[in-house]
Amino acid sequence: MEAKEKYKENELTDLSKDTIDGEIATINFGPTHPSTHGIFQNVLQVDGEKIVSAEQTVGYIHRAFEKLAERRPYNQITPITDRLNYCSSPINNIGWEMTVEKLIGAEIPKRVQYMRVIIMELARIADHLICDSVVGVDAGALTSFFYPFTEREKIYELYEEICGARLTTNIGRIGGFERDFNETFHTKLKSFLKTFPPAFEEFNSMLERNRIFMDRTKGAGPISAERALNYSFTGPNLRAAGVDYDVRVAQPYSSYEDFDFVIPVGVNGDTYDRFMVRQEEIRQSMRIIQQAYSNLPEGSYKADLPEFFLPPKAEVYNQMEALIYHFKIVMGETHIPAGEVYHAVEGGNGELGYYLISDGGRNPYRLQFRRPCFIYYQAYPEMIKGMTISDAVLTLSSMNVIAGELDA
């Protein structure tokens, strides 16, 4: 820690004094480097092992989602959102559904809101578990990578019970869910609530006070609160720098105001703080799930929006109205009113926003995703300047830059 700070102190002011052999080398970090966890390229200027400057190249997996969305009916945009932050697809899906619901002014039953909270918090746990265990890997601790994956698997099994899919979930519908939680889900969730906390604490104990891990992560890739705000940071990365902004609290959606939870904040905004903030958020997510599940209201699992829910087949064969809705949904002819709406949810990485402009047709006139990754990844060169390459690796993984969300 001390050595690292000294190293930073006399950096870059006079290169000729500080260089190892007076030579700056250019290296390509990525695009397919094992430690980048996705397709990112960084062109690094290094002096010995010290980074003088970095420049990111993004767009390797750009799939033109915003353009695609302009030709798709609303219910077919949900699977596009899966592929943004694919570590926590359900949050993206539900965020999008809530955006449309806001525009059409749908009233969502309390049960649906609580069900959504449970699923979104499960997704947040899965997202943070991956990020934190990968930070461990990049610091050289492979064991702590395998243990949490057992738990993540259980979360994916829970998704499977709800929507049949695991990674790209396409969970829920505009207005609620396609079916209620089934018996297997209840059994699995109850067992998860019991077995996850001890398993998580075991994982946590491998890293939290691990001397080697702390030495490697403390002081690596720090950012101050002012700089982070200037870069429009949100989410755990901002909270690690000490700012307690969380969309769930600032502008609650889906009944988050009903639950009692704490927003953890860090101090230094470095890799260790980012790790610690995510770890604490996992505990808080568990608290939210417990509260939501034990108070799960009775009622319907979907809102009364026939134009967004396929009617039962028997009705389609016998009733005119059901047949019309069936046809409209299958042909993607559900029109929604004109309007302009912005809805934000707290995604795994921060404020995930949907800016939707509708001109009253079957598909959006314009849809923009506010992708937290894309915005905070800009600060990466500033954060790793003067650090070593191994610190750059740790910084990248602890920022949780997800290629899908970065490139849209």
């Binding site: 767009g59 353009k67 870069y231 600032a250 302009e340 923009q368």
Partner: protein
Amino acid sequence: MNAISNEQVLKRLNEFFEADILSNEEPFGLLTLEITPSKAYEMIEWLKNDTVLQCDFLTNIAAVHYPKDTNREMVVVYQLHSWRNNFRLRLKAFLPISNPSIATIVPIYNGANWMERESYDFYGVNFTGHPDLRRILNEDSMDYFPMRKEYHLEDGTREDKDDRFFGRF
């Protein structure tokens, strides 16, 4: 639960920028102002430093293309957020497609850098004074701005699909 209501925000802004706020509306409670493009920089900087409004977080920059609005085809939408007073604010600057230029706000918010590059990449909005205005997600040699409405998503040569039945155009 806004600590400051939209009326108060508008009133405060009107004290300083009355001539430059061309219209206002509140879709879904989010105060949306149309402003003079040349004053966008000044207004955003003022909002950041104003001690009453404290609107000092840049949430998002988006561009939208309205090909039918002559001389105001391109819109740059700035979305700001005051965390202390918990209100959001949307500023819209309409620009002609023949010269979609507006001053960059990178000196105010570093985070605007990539947001502006993205709007340039997809819509061709020219942010004057931007330190590094290059394409970001698309390939460098691309010679058009793909999110503009004249570029249809599907292959225009296909005859088996009649756009009248399947889409907007």
